[in-house]
């Protein structure tokens, strides 16, 4: 047993990492729904979920149980194999794409093994991600077709047309970043952004750094990525006012949940990609000489924790009075521990993931913000926008960036 | 390393299956798909030769084949839509007149 473990250490470490990442991603997914409902609710002067658990924190769990125990209805006349394949395909592809994302610069050293914060780090990382995204269309298109019903079919048709159209801009908008980084590897793309002008970290990020700031590229990428994930304002495939629910009208119970999880997972992937490609990944926005920014995590955690404890004591229900102070106390302990000089190495290690996750959260918030603010596009507007505005702008971005990159290398 | 011959044999099998599909299928779209299958088989042979010779030319040809296949699919499917619109059928045997 021990021999087997030591002989296949890499394999076992990878398997454990996959299990852990799946667990984290699914949990984050669940709480992303809670976050979205809360934020949209507050934008519309409502409270959002607040019945199950303090502040509705157990709502995702209740929803998950509901999905599991609901009746699994299959409409008559469906193509059974494709009908079952579609949600599986959507979920599997969405979860696979997370595995290529690097979450931190340094490995954890444990028992003589370097445990890196990614599952795979292929030299063509970005292309792998695009390949997986490209296959993601099938989940939606096949679900629409196999349901044998008119609204899903229209939803599926719309989504395949939309995703093919926006994939062009999505791919072209990152060419500028690739030209500046000289690599397809995500880690190398981040490292290429670590040489800022005047030592100010934020100026090294691709969106601000020379030779040509990728502001155009970023906007094209983000808009195209929102369209790829079928989110508001591009959620034409599931426009509820016209198509009932689009491609997943005929899906119920856990098969619907699979589409749901796939959508939220691809939101996370897109936020990761935005951060990595344009916003410096795990790099801090401050000058490298400012070592006191290392205490930022604890500086944020301690007041948040105190506020949660205070809020818990004031809470109406007995559950809130019990649970919230415990959560707050835990966070307070972590925050204090990070500031202790003896645990300095933990604090240094956590800097990369801290900035990466912070930026990812910002992009996830923007997703929700857009949903709370923008109305849906009309179908012809969507197509005209993709082909007549987004595509030319991203091509212009490629031309300009290549010109400036060439100019810098031999002026 | 897998011997190059294995790849070549696999490529020939896939090509043959593509030919069979081309002959046996009656739906225009499926016939078109079997052409894509044959192109894929040829691509496999190209990459295998590239690996055997240690040069990148084979991979480059594959890229060109893929570009041509994409252009061909765009025009071909346009023709398929036109046929379906004019004849109300996708069966090749019913598309037997030169005029519309």
């Amino acid at each position: 047993m021990i021999d087997f473990l030591s002989a296949h250490a890499e394999l076992i470490i990878t398997l454990i990492k996959i299990a852990l990442l799946m667990f984290i991603v699914l949990t984050v997914n669940a709480y992303l729904t809670w976050f979205e409902r809360k934020v949209v609710a507050h934008m519309q002067s409502r409270w959002g979920p607040h019945r199950v658990g303090p502040h509705g924190l157990m709502q995702p769990l209740a929803d998950g149980l509901k999905f599991l125990f609901k009746e699994d209805a299959m409409p008559a006349g469906v193509d059974k194999f494709v009908y079952l394949l579609a949600p599986l395909l959507a979920l599997a592809l969405a979860l696979t794409s997370i595995g290529v994302i690097p979450f931190g610069p340094e490995p954890i050293r444990l028992l003589g093994h370097n445990i890196w914060l990614y599952i795979a780090n292929p030299s063509i990382g970005l292309l792998v991600l695009f390949a997986i995204t490209a296959l993601g269309v099938y989940g939606v298109a096949l679900a629409g077709w196999s349901s044998n019903s008119k609204y899903p079919l229209l939803g599926g048709l719309r989504s395949s047309a939309q995703m093919i159209s926006y994939e062009l801009s999505l791919t072209l908008s990152v060419v500028g970043v690739l030209l500046m980084a000289n690599s397809f590897n995500l880690t190398e793309i981040i490292n290429a952004q670590s040489h800022p002008a005047w030592g100010i970290g934020i100026l090294g990020w691709n969106i601000f750094s020379g030779p040509f700031p990728q502001i155009l590229g970023f906007f094209c990428f983000y808009i195209a990525a929102i369209a790829e994930t079928n989110r508001v304002p591009f959620d034409l495939p599931e426009a509820e006012s016209e198509l009932v629910a689009g491609f997943h009208t005929e899906y119920s119970s856990f098969k619907f949940a699979m589409f749901f999880i796939a959508e939220y997972t691809s939101m996370i992937t897109v936020s990761c990609l935005c951060t990595i490609l344009f916003f410096g990944g795990w790099l801090s926005p401050f000058p490298q000489s400012w070592t006191f920014t290392y205490y930022l995590p604890s500086l944020l955690l301690v007041p948040t924790a105190l506020w949660i404890i205070w809020d818990g004591i004031r809470y109406e229900t007995i559950w809130g009075k019990l649970v919230l102070p415990v959560i707050g106390g835990g966070l307070l302990l972590v925050g204090i521990a990070l500031a202790i000089p003896q645990l300095q190495f933990v604090n240094v290690f956590i800097q990369g993931p801290f900035w990466l996750l912070g930026k990812i959260l910002v992009f996830l918030f923007v997703y929700v913000w857009l949903r709370g603010t923008l109305p849906r596009f009309r179908y012809d507007q969507l197509m005209a926008f993709g082909w007549k505005l987004l595509l030319p702008v991203s091509i212009a971005n490629v031309v300009l960036t290549s010109f400036f990159v060439l100019w810098r290398s031999n002026p | 390393m897998v011997p190059t011959t294995y790849y070549i044999v696999l490529s020939a099998i896939l090509f043959g299956l593509g030919v069979l599909a081309f002959l046996f299928k009656r739906n225009i779209i499926t016939i078109f798909m079997s052409i894509e299958l044959m192109l894929n088989a040829v691509n496999l042979a190209f990459v295998a030769f590239s690996q055997a010779s240690g040069k990148l030319d084979g991979q480059l040809f594959v890229l060109f084949v893929i570009i041509v296949a994409a252009a061909e699919a765009a025009v071909g499917l346009g023709i398929v839509i036109l046929i379906a619109r004019n004849r109300q059928t996708l069966n090749v045997e019913r598309v037997d007149l030169l005029k519309l």
């Binding site: 030299s123 390949a131 | 078109f32 990459v47 990148l56 030319d57």
Partner: protein
């Protein structure tokens, strides 16, 4: 049997199974799905040979664009089950035999030439050490093969025009 050979046989079996299923499926969507399986398996084989960029392009362009177009057209035309018109069983039998003969002939001819390839590559031909280098591939496209590459862009332009003309409804 090495791990590499095992992976090869798995992917090869997958691709042949996909191709056979392309023939036997009655519905065009099922045929399209079988072809997608073939293409993904082939991308896996390219990875096995170290052709990373080609593998990625295979999935992005073939899997993500061309086959999506096929599925889209099948959905758009609402193509039903395939109908069989000519019921000539007699013609089918020699057809299969001839196809098998073609397979054997192509396989033997190509395999023989593959042997000569290996021997000619070692005697002084410029051998590229790194077959998975995307950088070298792009250098070749934009230096040695730049005219063919430019020609393909014209080809695509013509294809776009052709598709537009074909799809246009007469007013």
């Amino acid at each position: 049997m090495t791990a590499e050979l095992l992976v090869f046989f798995l992917l090869a079996a997958l691709s042949v199974a996909g191709a056979v299923s392309l023939i036997f499926q009655k519905h065009p969507i099922h045929s399209a799905l079988s072809l997608i399986v073939v293409m993904v398996a082939l991308a896996g084989l390219y990875l096995l040979m170290g052709a990373e960029f080609v593998a990625a392009v295979q999935i992005i362009v073939y899997g993500g664009a061309i086959m999506v177009l096929f599925v889209f057209v099948i959905m758009l035309l609402n193509a039903g089950l395939e109908e069989h018109t000519s019921e000539s069983k007699l013609a089918g039998f020699p057809g299969i035999l001839l196809a098998l003969a073609l397979m054997g002939f192509v396989a033997t001819t190509l395999a023989r030439s593959a042997g000569s390839f290996v021997s000619s590559a070692t005697d002084g031909g410029k051998i590229v050490a790194n077959l998975s280098s995307t950088r070298q591939l792009s250098t070749m496209i934009f230096k040695d093969f730049v005219y063919p590459f430019e020609l393909t862009s014209f080809l695509i332009l013509i294809a776009i025009l052709g598709a537009i003309v074909l799809a246009q409804r007469e007013s």
